[in-house]
C-alpha cells in the first residue's frame, strides 16, 4: 500500500515537473531530450526483455522499430500528403487503401476518425501488432539455434527488414530511399511519450515478477533445468520475442511521429547498437537499468555535441587530467588490492608522466591562437559509445544496476539483512540443541563434508 502511494506520488511529482518544464521558457531542448529518453526507453526496455531476461542476444531490434515506424507513417499520412506520392513511387493502391481514416469511416466510426489522437493510438497499436507478427518469425530460429549464431540470425533478419523498403517492388509502398515525410501525430508532445513509458513500465514490471517473467529468467539461467521444471521453451521464447517486438514497434511509431519522417537510415543497425549500449550500461536484465542507461546514452547523444568540436586547449587539459588521475587510481588500486609497498609501476609512471607533460604544454601554450582553434571531430560521440560498451564488457559486465530493480524498500524500507525480533526468536530456537534435535546431525554432516 505504502509503495503504491509512493509510486503514485512520484509519478505525480514527475508530471508536475514536466508541466513546469512545458510552461517555462527556453526548455525546448531539454523537453525534446526527455521525449527521446522516453521513446528510446520503451525500445530499450523491450530489448531488455530478450537480451536481459530471456538471455538471448538479439541484434534485430532496428527491424522491429522500422516496421513500427513505417506502419504508423503509412496509416497516419494525411490525404494532402499522399497526393505528391503519385509523382514519386507510392502506388495508387497503397495511396488509396492504406489509410486509417478511410478504414474508420468505413466502419462507421466517424468520431474516432475525426480525432487525430484516437487515430494515433490505433495506428500505434496496429504498428505494434505488425512488429509483433514479425517478432514471431524472427523468434522462431531461437528454437533451433543458440548463442552467437542466433545473434547473427536476428541481425540478418533486422538487416533484411532494413534493406527491403529500398527494393523496387516494395518501394511502391515505402517510397524507397526517400522515405515518408510529413507524418502527423502527437509524439512530439512530451505527454504522449511520458504516458506510453508509464504504461510500458507498469506492464514490464508486472511481467517480470509474473510466472512468465520467472519462466523467462529460468530459461536464461538454464534451459534444460527450466524445461525439466515444466517451462514450455518454445512458447516462452516466441512469447518474449512477440512482446518485445510489439513494444519495439510502438516505440518505432512514436519515434517516426516525433521526427515526422521515416526512412531506412533512421532505423539502421546503429539503433540496435545504441540500445545495446544503453541496456549493457544499465545492467542486462534490469528494467530500471535499461531506463537509466537510456537516459545516460541519450544525454551523451543530445548534449555531447561539444565533444565533436573541441579545441586543443581543453583536449589537453582533459586528457592530461584524465591520464594523471588514471595513473593515481591504478597505483592506489594495485597497492590496496595486492598490499604492495609503495612502488611506482613503470606503466603508471608513463601514464602520469604523459598526462603531466600534456598539462604543462597546454598551460604553456594556452595563449597561442592554434590552441584556441576549434577542430571538427565528427563521430566522436559514436566512438565514445563504442568505447563505453567495450569498457563495460571488460570491467563491469553486469552494468550499473546488475539485475536489481528499483524498489521503495531499497531506499526507505526496513533493511532485510537486519533480522526482526521474530526471526531472532526463531534463530534462537534453531540454535538451541535441546529444542532442535536435528542440530547435532547437521553439525556432524558439516564436519565430515
Amino acid at each position: 500500500m505504502r509503495d503504491y502511494l509512493l509510486t503514485l506520488l512520484s509519478v505525480g511529482l514527475a508530471a508536475l515537473a514536466l508541466y513546469f518544464l512545458t510552461v517555462s521558457e527556453g526548455t525546448s531542448g531539454l523537453l525534446s531530450a526527455l521525449t527521446l529518453i522516453f521513446i528510446w526507453g520503451i525500445a530499450a526496455i523491450s530489448l531488455n526483455l530478450i537480451n536481459g531476461q530471456l538471455g538471448i542476444l538479439s541484434l534485430g531490434h532496428h527491424g522491429f522499430m522500422l516496421i513500427g515506424g513505417y506502419v504508423t507513417a503509412l496509416l497516419m499520412l494525411p490525404a494532402r500528403e499522399r497526393r505528391p506520392f503519385r509523382t514519386r513511387l507510392l502506388s495508387d493502391w497503397a495511396r488509396n487503401h492504406l489509410d486509417l481514416d478511410k478504414w474508420l469511416r468505413g466502419l462507421g466510426l466517424d468520431a474516432l476518425a475525426n480525432s487525430i489522437d484516437a487515430k494515433f493510438i490505433i495506428a500505434l497499436f496496429i504498428a505494434g501488432l505488425a512488429a509483433a507478427l514479425l517478432g514471431i518469425i524472427v523468434g522462431a530460429p531461437s528454437l533451433r539455434l543458440k548463442g552467437d549464431y542466433l545473434a547473427i540470425v536476428t541481425f540478418g533478419f533486422g538487416e533484411i527488414i532494413r534493406l527491403l523498403p529500398n527494393a523496387p517492388e516494395v518501394a511502391a509502398f515505402t517510397n524507397g530511399p526517400l522515405g515518408i515525410k510529413g507524418i502527423p501525430g502527437n509524439a512530439g508532445n512530451i505527454w504522449w511519450t511520458f504516458l506510453a513509458l508509464l504504461l510500458v513500465l507498469w506492464f514490464f514490471s508486472r511481467l517480470k515478477f509474473s510466472s512468465y517473467g520467472r519462466a523467462f529468467e529460468g530459461i536464461r539461467e538454464d534451459e534444460i533445468a527450466a524445461e525439466a521444471m515444466g517451462v514450455n521453451l518454445a512458447y516462452h521464447k516466441i512469447l518474449a520475442f512477440t512482446i518485445s517486438a510489439f513494444f519495439a514497434g510502438v516505440s518505432g511509431g512514436l519515434y517516426a511521429s516525433y521526427l515526422q519522417s521515416v526512412d531506412t537510415q533512421t532505423f539502421n543497425f546503429f539503433v540496435t547498437f545504441f540500445l545495446l549500449v544503453a541496456i549493457s550500461l544499465g545492467g542486462l536484465g534490469s528494467i530500471t537499468g535499461a531506463l537509466l542507461g537510456t537516459a545516460i546514452v541519450v544525454l551523451v547523444r543530445v548534449y555531447g555535441g561539444f565533444l565533436e568540436q573541441p579545441n586543443p586547449a581543453w583536449v589537453g587539459y582533459l586528457s592530461g587530467a584524465v591520464l594523471m588521475l588514471a595513473a593515481f587510481a591504478f597505483s592506489a588500486y594495485i597497492r590496496k588490492a595486492r598490499r604492495l609497498r609503495p612502488v611506482i609501476e613503470p606503466k603508471h609512471f608513463i601514464f602520469g608522466a604523459v598526462g603531466a607533460v600534456l598539462l604543462v604544454i597546454t598551460i604553456a601554450f594556452f595563449k597561442q591562437p592554434w590552441m584556441q582553434q576549434t577542430v571538427q571531430f565528427f563521430g566522436m560521440r559514436k566512438m565514445l559509445l563504442a568505447v563505453i560498451l567495450i569498457l563495460i564488457m571488460i570491467y563491469r559486465r553486469e552494468g550499473v544496476m546488475g539485475r536489481a530493480e528499483f524498489s521503495w524498500k531499497l531506499i526507505i524500507g526496513p533493511r532485510e539483512d537486519i533480522p526482526t525480533d521474530e526471526q531472532r526468536k526463531q534463530d534462537a530456537w534453531l540454535s538451541n540443541p535441546d529444542l532442535n534435535p536435528g542440530l547435532k546431525e547437521d553439525g556432524d554432516d558439516d564436519a565430515s563434508a
Binding site: 530460429p141 540478418g156 534493406l163 546503429f270 565528427f378 563521430g379 559509445l385 560498451l389 571488460i394
Partner: protein, 387 residues
C-alpha cells in the same frame, strides 16, 4: 564415418537442392537469347575475382572463430584499414626523409615488437637481422619514390596485421573466458569504433583509389562480335589469392606454430597443458587473418576503384556468410564458401537482372538459411552442443 556422413539426410537434401539450382540455371541460360560465350567468360572472370576476395576475408573470420569461438565483427573494418593503409602508402610517398624516419621508427618499432612476440624471435642474431630488414626496408620504400601497388600491398599487409594484433590485445584479450555473447558485443563495439575512427581520421568522403598501374589498364578482347572487358586485376586477384593460400597452407601444416594453431583450435585447454602459448597463437591468428584481409582490401580497392570508411560492412558480412557456408572453423571450407558466394552473386545478378536490387538481401537470406538448416556448413565439423 565418412560413409555415414555422405549418406546423411541433410547432405542428400542439400545435394538435391544444388542439383535443382543447376538445372534451373541451365534452363535460364538457355532461355536468355543474348547470353553469349563472351558473357560466360566475362561472368566467370568477375565471379572468380570476387570469390577470391571473399575467400581471403572469410579465412580471417574462420580462423578466429576456430581458435577462440568469436565472430570477429570488426574484421570488415580491418579490411577497410588495409585498403586505406595502401592508399596512403601509394599517394603520400615519397615522403621527406625526416618524416619518413619518424614513420619508420614508430611503424617499424611496432611491427618489430609484434613480430618478435608472434614468431619467437628472441634470439639476438635473428632480431638484429629482422630489425635491419624492417627499418631499412620501410625507410627505403617510403623515402625515394612513389610506391606501386606491390609495395603498397606489402606495406599495408604488414601494418594491418599489426593493427589486427593490437585490436585483439586491446579489446578481446581482457575478455578471455567471458561468455561468447559478451565477446560478440565487444566485437560489434570495436567494429563501430573503427568505422567512426575511419570517418574521423580518413574523412567520411569516398576517395578514388586510382592505382595507375597496368592492373587497371583495359585489355579488352573479342570473342566473335562481343567484347570481354578485361583488366590485369582480374588475373592478379586469383593468382595472389592462390599464392597466399599456398603459403598459409604451408604455414599451418608444416611449421611448429601452425601445429600449435591446429592444436589450439582443437582444444585450447589441452594445448595449453602441452606447452602451447595460447595467447601467442591467438595473436598470431589475428595477425594472419588481418594480413589476408588487407590483401583483399587493397585488391578490392584496385578492382572497384574507390574506398570509404564504411566499405568493410557488406564485404565483411558476405565473407562471414561465405565462412558459414563452408563450415566456420574450416580453412578449405572458407575458400570454397568464398568462391561459391562470389559465383552465386555474379551469376544471380547476371542471369536475373531484375534481382540485382536484392543482392545484399540475398546474402543475408543465404546466411540465415545456412545457419538455420546446416549450421556446420558444407565441410565443417558438427557443432551440436552437448549438455
Amino acid at each position: 564415418m565418412a560413409a555415414s556422413k555422405i549418406t546423411s539426410r541433410s547432405t542428400i537434401i542439400s545435394l538435391l537442392i544444388g542439383a535443382v539450382f543447376v538445372v534451373l540455371l541451365g534452363a535460364r541460360i538457355n532461355s536468355l537469347e543474348n547470353y553469349t560465350f563472351a558473357r560466360v567468360v566475362q561472368d566467370f572472370l568477375n565471379a572468380l575475382t570476387l570469390g577470391s576476395l571473399y575467400a581471403l576475408i572469410a579465412l580471417g573470420y574462420t580462423m578466429v572463430y576456430g581458435i577462440i569461438r568469436l565472430i570477429n565483427f570488426a574484421h570488415g573494418e580491418i579490411f577497410m584499414l588495409g585498403s586505406y593503409f595502401a592508399f596512403y602508402a601509394m599517394t603520400l610517398t615519397p615522403l621527406p626523409w625526416a618524416i619518413s624516419l619518424l614513420v619508420t621508427i614508430i611503424l617499424g618499432g611496432t611491427v618489430l615488437l609484434v613480430l618478435r612476440s608472434l614468431f619467437n624471435l628472441e634470439e639476438p642474431k635473428r632480431t638484429f637481422a629482422l630489425s635491419l630488414i624492417i627499418f631499412g626496408g620501410t625507410f627505403f620504400l617510403l623515402t625515394f619514390r612513389k610506391l606501386g601497388w606491390v609495395e603498397g600491398l606489402t606495406l599495408s599487409m604488414l601494418a594491418t596485421g599489426v593493427a589486427g594484433v593490437l585490436l585483439e590485445a586491446i579489446a578481446y584479450k581482457p575478455l578471455r573466458g567471458a561468455p561468447r555473447e559478451s565477446m560478440l558485443i565487444t566485437a560489434i563495439a570495436a567494429s563501430f569504433f573503427l568505422q567512426n575512427f575511419g570517418q574521423l581520421v580518413f574523412g567520411a568522403r569516398v576517395r578514388g583509389f586510382n592505382a595507375q598501374t597496368i592492373l587497371n589498364k583495359p585489355l579488352n578482347f573479342h570473342i566473335g562480335p562481343e567484347t570481354v572487358y578485361f583488366t590485369g586485376i582480374l588475373v592478379v586477384v586469383p593468382l595472389i589469392t592462390a599464392l597466399l593460400l599456398w603459403v598459409l597452407n604451408l604455414f599451418v601444416s608444416r611449421t611448429r606454430l601452425g601445429k600449435a594453431m591446429r592444436a589450439t583450435a582443437q582444444d585450447a585447454e589441452v594445448a595449453q597443458m602441452m606447452g602451447v602459448n595460447v595467447n601467442q597463437v591467438i595473436a598470431l591468428t589475428f595477425f594472419i587473418g588481418s594480413i589476408l584481409a588487407a590483401a583483399a582490401g587493397v585488391m578490392y580497392a584496385i578492382r572497384f576503384g574507390q574506398i570509404h570508411p564504411l566499405m568493410g560492412l557488406m564485404p565483411g558480412i558476405k565473407a562471414f556468410t561465405a565462412a558459414v557456408i563452408g563450415g566456420i572453423g574450416s580453412l578449405p571450407g572458407a575458400v570454397l564458401g568464398g568462391l561459391l558466394l562470389g559465383f552465386i552473386e555474379i551469376y544471380v545478378v547476371s542471369l536475373f537482372p531484375t534481382l540485382s536490387a536484392y543482392k545484399d538481401v540475398f546474402a543475408f537470406v543465404l546466411l540465415i538459411l545456412i545457419l538455420l538448416f546446416r549450421p556446420s556448413g558444407l565441410v565443417g565439423e558438427d557443432l551440436t552442443e552437448k549438455v
